[in-house]
Amino acid sequence: MKRWMVLVLLLLGMALVGVAIAEEAKTPLGSATETQAAPAAQGAQVTEAPLKVDTGDTAWLLISTALVMLMTPGLAFFYGGMVGRKNVLGILMQCFILLCAISVQWVLYGYSLSFAPGKGFWGSLEWAGLKGVGFTPYKDYAATIPHQLFMMFQAMFAIITPALMIGAFAERMKFSAFMVFMVLWSTFVYDPVAHWVWGVGGWLKDLGALDFAGGTVVHINAGIAALMAAIFIGKRKGAENKAILPHNLPFTLLGTALLWFGWFGFNAGSSLGANELAVNAFVVTNTAAGAAGLAWAILDWFFHEKPTVLGTATGAVAGLVAITPAAGFVGAMSAIVIGVFVSIFSYIAVTVVKPKFGYDDALDVFGVHCIGGIWGALATGLFASKAINPAGADGLFFGNPKLLLIQAIAVGVTLVYSFVVSLILYKIVDFIMKARVPEKEENLGLDLTQHHENAYTMIE
């Protein structure tokens, strides 16, 4: 019965794609060019020349897009190393299937809901199936690269954001429930929040909130939803009194390195051009990651006798999270301060707050991404400087306290909206199909029970 329902859904989806293809055929690739050329043909007051694609910018964004794509498998290994050996495939698969599923969701309607101009809750469905999203640049987002490239770059962000949450409910969520929850979450949480912050007509954007590469949209958004999921799905079996030991820390460090590498695309690519701003983002990204990794190692050394590999990796990721919203607005010295403090805040969240409240955020998505994202967004309100980016704004330390307030509003709105709507979606999924695997399956591990596979052979 269930199998048939999935098949019917798939067929319906295919029919939709069919309609979209028919539409595409009516307006061949240069559709955006036509809409732009049309007013020009009418002559009169139109002075603007059609936008020209810059090859340097396009080359950099193509590379950046591929770099950000690599972050999701990198994240899979970052998380995969931290779980038990019976659940590693479950983690890798959850990350990888999001790469597949959101890639499709994004071109079907995700991009349109997020970025089509509109003052409402979402953008609109005007660009569904990439209708009207052609190769001519779209001035309001990126004036020098093909519109489809901007769309693809954003797709990678839409993929990694839900993937970040996987760490919170690791080792205990049913795969089918996971899939349904994630598609719903992308549609009802990611797409609207992305529209508010980045989209033309988005109300947080109009308010003046600064989020260079997605501290609010990506990290706070995913981090708070992760906390919700960790609380409501309950603790892992065996995590009541002790930590579940990571089964392969070399994987975790490898994943951290891939994340760091990919983050150059995430942040420096968010300048949407091969320019000075991209270089600034590149410099501060690297600096903040280094400062934060170093700070966490020192904290570990001081409070737990030895600097740990897991701690240093965690610190570096926290640093990358915190610098994300600020990357295009602050300088390298501010990046060091942002990096050091994010490790301190995340360290407290992970080692003090989590045990005190007793939620089982298995791989510390909340402690690293939400706390790091909040600090990054507020730090942008403190350290932003027009000397770095004239298109930005000055922060508190550069004489403009108003920006900090706006940043705080954006953070607060995202926290509340994401928590509440994620909770509703989670409860719906849990009610229909039970989000958590049965205890017996949890004991056997997700690799075997959800995928009928094992990561490691014990005996040949």
Partner: protein
Amino acid sequence: MKLIIAIIKPDRLEAVKKELYKADVNLITVSEVLGHGRQMGVTEVYRGVKEMGNLLRKIRLEIAVNEDFVEPTVKAILKGAQTGNIGDGKIFILDLAECIRIRTEERGGVAIG
């Protein structure tokens, strides 16, 4: 016939093997095992969470011998594995009911050596 089981520190394996060869004991089975004794293993820290009493890596030797080889084998293991520190391990000696060489189907003492 006796079965000698020894739990030793991993870094002593080479020395023990050398001593066993000197005593003309050439047939051993080695496996990696985990365990701890009175000192309760090591403490590991993951993101600030302390895990006490974690198991330590050890090496387990199994050696089947005839009666006159028991003492030389024990002496060889002691010589190779003893450091005088906590965690040097243990030697267990068990009676062995039967031994069969699969290739030839020989039984008893001849099958051991």
